[in-house]
Symmetry: C2
Subunit: 229 residues, 2 copies
């Protein structure tokens, strides 16, 4: 067991160094970035499509899509109008900083304001691997159930925003919003919880405004006008 | 990278040996067993609850529940009437054979016909780790989307049954059953796909019958009356 732990620590340390390199490249290009994580099917790709279309007149967006197989997600992001690169992880259950680095090699960041990295659909493993991105976003969804913050605490901790997607299904499934919110807030008192439906568009405005605020605060900081890094 | 691969191979080989030990213990106790895998929130626990209640007059059932945290799932299985043991994986993204072995240590298998192992909610990692169980069950769910067999092929390959849960939500979400079925069958031509709703109970009978058939075939084999191991 000990040798496994040592190897794991070495892998994570190497990953952190590569993540710092990614962050430096993003800063040099003045690109703000999000790491979007979720269970399979929670709605990461739909949220990204909605973001590309909803922000097209305000923000220039690029996407790095991580998946075990297929280029379905990057195809959807491209169709929505973003520069998109698909990374197939060949069985690996999460994106790591080296993969995102190869994604950055393949992307022209000229004129890009925001990079969204769509992680592999997995509520457990991605959170362990820093990618060099600026903010962590978790997409939860109503049909997954209100107990998920309690059962996956490590994944809900350290998030800057939790999106609760598929609220259009609230009339059709048992889901206690208060129980969900309590579970999220106990783990992370400062987290923002944004309820929405990527199907109907309800609640999407607050998410788009949050993204724009983050991009503008980052730009202000780069230009020496203060604000949060 | 090479040393990581070697370590991973050693871990998997050690796991396989422990899995064989689990299988031998199950055979000695004449217990048939299922490894139930799924994304978070697809309905594993609900399916197990429904199975315990629906089979109470036909089969004596025990449950080993794997979760990162909490005993919520084992509590539900106990409340439904099964002997249940909760295993908290302390951050590990899947059950392994050693954990299931400790679960077997804690379970009295006397008189038990069927052991259901509920894996950690994760569509990627559990499939890599043999547990010593007899059959693999994947629980998919309608709101996850019809593209999942294409995006997670390794998880759909090697399944004996794919349960498509939450069909009561078909009127409310976009889901192409033919596309889903095609994706599953391309990967695994012999798989059975059982559509159901653990909320309404629709389609549950076919699942319960399949479970009983499997348990009886295993018992017949043990008693030297032939059938599939």
């Amino acid at each position: 067991m000990t040798s496994r732990v040592v190897v794991a620590e070495r892998v994570l340390r190497a990953n952190d160094e590569l993540a710092q390199g990614n962050r430096a490249r993003l800063e040099a290009a003045a690109v703000f970035s999000l790491n979007v994580m979720a269970s399979p099917g929670a709605g990461k790709t739909s949220l990204i499509e909605r973001s590309i279309r909803g922000l097209s007149d305000r923000i220039r967006l690029a996407v790095i899509d991580g998946d075990l197989a297929t280029s379905l997600d990057a195809d959807r992001a491209s169709a929505a109008g973003a520069r998109a690169v698909q990374i197939n992880t060949a069985g690996q259950c999460h994106l790591d900083a080296a993969m995102v680095g190869r994604g950055l090699d393949a992307l022209d960041l000229t004129g890009v304001d925001l990079l969204i990295v769509e992680n592999v659909g997995n509520l457990v493993c991605p959170v362990e691997f820093a990618l060099g991105t600026h903010r962590n976003v978790l997409v939860a969804s109503v049909p997954e159930g209100d107990d998920k913050p309690y059962k996956y605490p490590a994944s809900y901790r350290g998030m800057d925003v939790v999106v609760l997607n598929k609220i259009d299904l609230l009339p059709h499934v048992p889901f206690d919003r208060a129980r969900f919110r309590h579970g999220v807030e106990v783990l992370n008192p400062d987290v923002q919880i944004l309820e929405m439906s990527c199907t109907t568009g309800e609640g999407l405005g607050a998410w788009l405004d949050w993204v724009v605020d983050q991009v503008e605060a980052h730009r202000a900081l780069k230009e020496g006008r203060g604000g949060r890094a």
